[in-house]
């Protein structure tokens, strides 16, 4: 709607110590006029989710991309919140503090790069309009270039061509080392499906109870996200970051669905 992604028409927050556009909040934090530790993350999160709910599907992409960072960070935090935090009473507030830092750090960082990208664009456009002296060498000077040493036979040349024309892939990052004990999303999904079908309704807390290792909890969470893409379960979450309840509402279900689950994660 507006070219200013988080301007007056954009995302606003109302906190005990601040009321105004989110962008201004970030500005104050950058300029250190507001202490980041005094900003309530849960209040910002609530307002953000409320704002997202109001955003129409055709909102401009620029705005959406900024909030993608918010959403990704919130999702990270949510996943982090699902992992065991230890037995300390304070663990939750420590995690909250870290999460708040992370959210604002990422947002400020993203915004800084977004702003500097405008500088890049302006400079490139400006320089694109400049003209340089770029004139081929005169023949008499070109003749002075040392004669080319050529050692390739036609067959060498063809071998070189074969190599050069082979589809080149950008090397991908190996993730194997990250999955020391491999957890199968499909296996975990099977467990989740059977638990939900047997009980009719299960909370995520129950699904994650008594599980050995964070990897499996994450796998079960991912398998729920995967299930969300299929018709079977219904989700219920009364408040942001609140209890997640999964109910079985599927009328048709076969194991083929299960086979397809987690296919994206197979590699």
């Amino acid at each position: 709607m507006t070219t200013d992604p988080a301007g007056d028409a954009g995302f606003r927050v109302s906190l005990s110590n601040f009321d105004g556009p989110f962008d201004l909040l970030l500005n104050l934090i950058t300029k250190r006029e507001l202490d980041i530790t005094e900003v309530s993350l849960s209040a910002v999160t609530d307002e953000f989710i409320g704002y997202l709910a109001e955003l129409g599907p055709e909102e401009n992409l620029d705005e959406a991309s900024e909030f993608l960072v918010v959403a990704a960070t919130l999702l990270d935090m949510k996943v982090a919140g699902l992992l065991p935090q230890g037995e300390f009473v304070d663990a939750e507030s420590v995690a909250l503090l870290e999460a708040r830092d992370l959210l604002f750090a990422r947002l400020l960082q993203y915004r800084a790069f977004k702003e500097v990208a405008v500088w890049f664009s302006d400079r490139i456009t400006h320089e694109g309009g400049r003209h340089t002296r770029d004139v081929p060498l005169e023949q008499k000077h070109r003749a002075a270039t040392p004669e080319l040493k050529w050692t390739l036979s036609a067959d060498d040349f063809a071998a070189l061509a074969t190599l050069a024309l082979a589809p080149s892939e950008i090397p991908t990052v190996g993730l194997e080392h990250l999955h020391a004990p491999q957890v199968s999303i499909r296996e975990q999904a099977a467990i989740v499906v059977s638990a939900v079908r047997t009980n009719g309704s299960v909370t995520f807390r129950e699904l994650a109870a008594g599980v050995d290792g964070p990897g499996i909890i994450v796998a079960r969470f991912i398998s729920i996200l995967e299930l969300y893409r299929l018709p079977p379960p219904a989700f219920e979450q009364l408040e942001p970051l609140g209890e997640l309840t999964i109910r079985w509402v599927a009328e048709t279900w076969d194991d083929e669905h299960l086979q397809a689950l987690g296919a994206d994660y197979d590699n």
Binding site: R106, L108, Q109, F113, V116, A117, R133, V173, H177
Partner: protein
């Protein structure tokens, strides 16, 4: 010394007039057969001369130091004359996503694709491929442990930005320079 310089400057002008890319001071020194220090001084003198600061007229061209080298450009105020005459083939514009990714790589280099993706919260593979194809970034080295490729910017980018080195990028707050560190920099407040 005066005769040295007075014959050095035309030699430099001859080299600059045939150059089709920014020429480093060392290349010019080799070509002109003069010490680097003298060449550097002569280039500064020549730049001032073309700018009309040595008593002569301001020329229709100027000498600029760009991307670590020296090159003759049409004087900025006269770019319009050339554009009107030859027409301007508008360079293919970079998308917003490509510009943002380029900015992240410029400030964070050497940096891996997944590090860039984390900052932008989206997959950047396609954009990185575009930037590689445009010659604006290059592969620097693979991480010895993970094999992840690290990317950095090229001198072509400096040329496109019209700056001499990556140090001339606008300053961004050190606070913002690494989200993964959280707000370590604020601890002292």
């Amino acid at each position: 010394m005066t005769t040295e310089t007075s014959s050095l400057i035309p030699r430099l002008e001859a080299l600059l007039i045939v150059a089709d890319e920014p020429m480093s001071v060392t290349a010019l020194a080799a070509g002109a057969g003069s010490p680097v220090k003298e060449v550097r001084a002569a280039l500064a003198e020549l730049r001032a001369d073309y700018d009309g600061e040595s008593g002569g007229p301001e020329r229709g061209f100027q000498l600029r130091e760009v991307a670590g080298g020296w090159r003759i450009y049409v004087r900025e105020e006269l770019d319009g004359v050339i554009t009107d005459f030859v027409g301007n083939q508008a360079p293919a514009r970079l998308s917003q996503a490509a510009l943002e990714t380029l900015a992240v790589i410029a400030y964070k280099q050497p940096v891996t694709r997944s590090q860039v993706a984390q900052i932008r919260a989206v997959n950047v593979d396609g954009v990185v491929r575009t930037l590689l194809g445009r010659g604006l970034i290059t592969e620097m080295h693979a991480d010895p442990e993970t094999g992840a490729m690290h990317y950095g910017t090229t001198s072509l980018l400096l040329e496109k930005l019209g700056i001499n080195s990556i140090d001339e990028l606008p300053h961004i707050s050190p606070l913002l320079d690494d989200g993964s560190d959280g707000f370590a920099g604020l601890e002292g407040i």
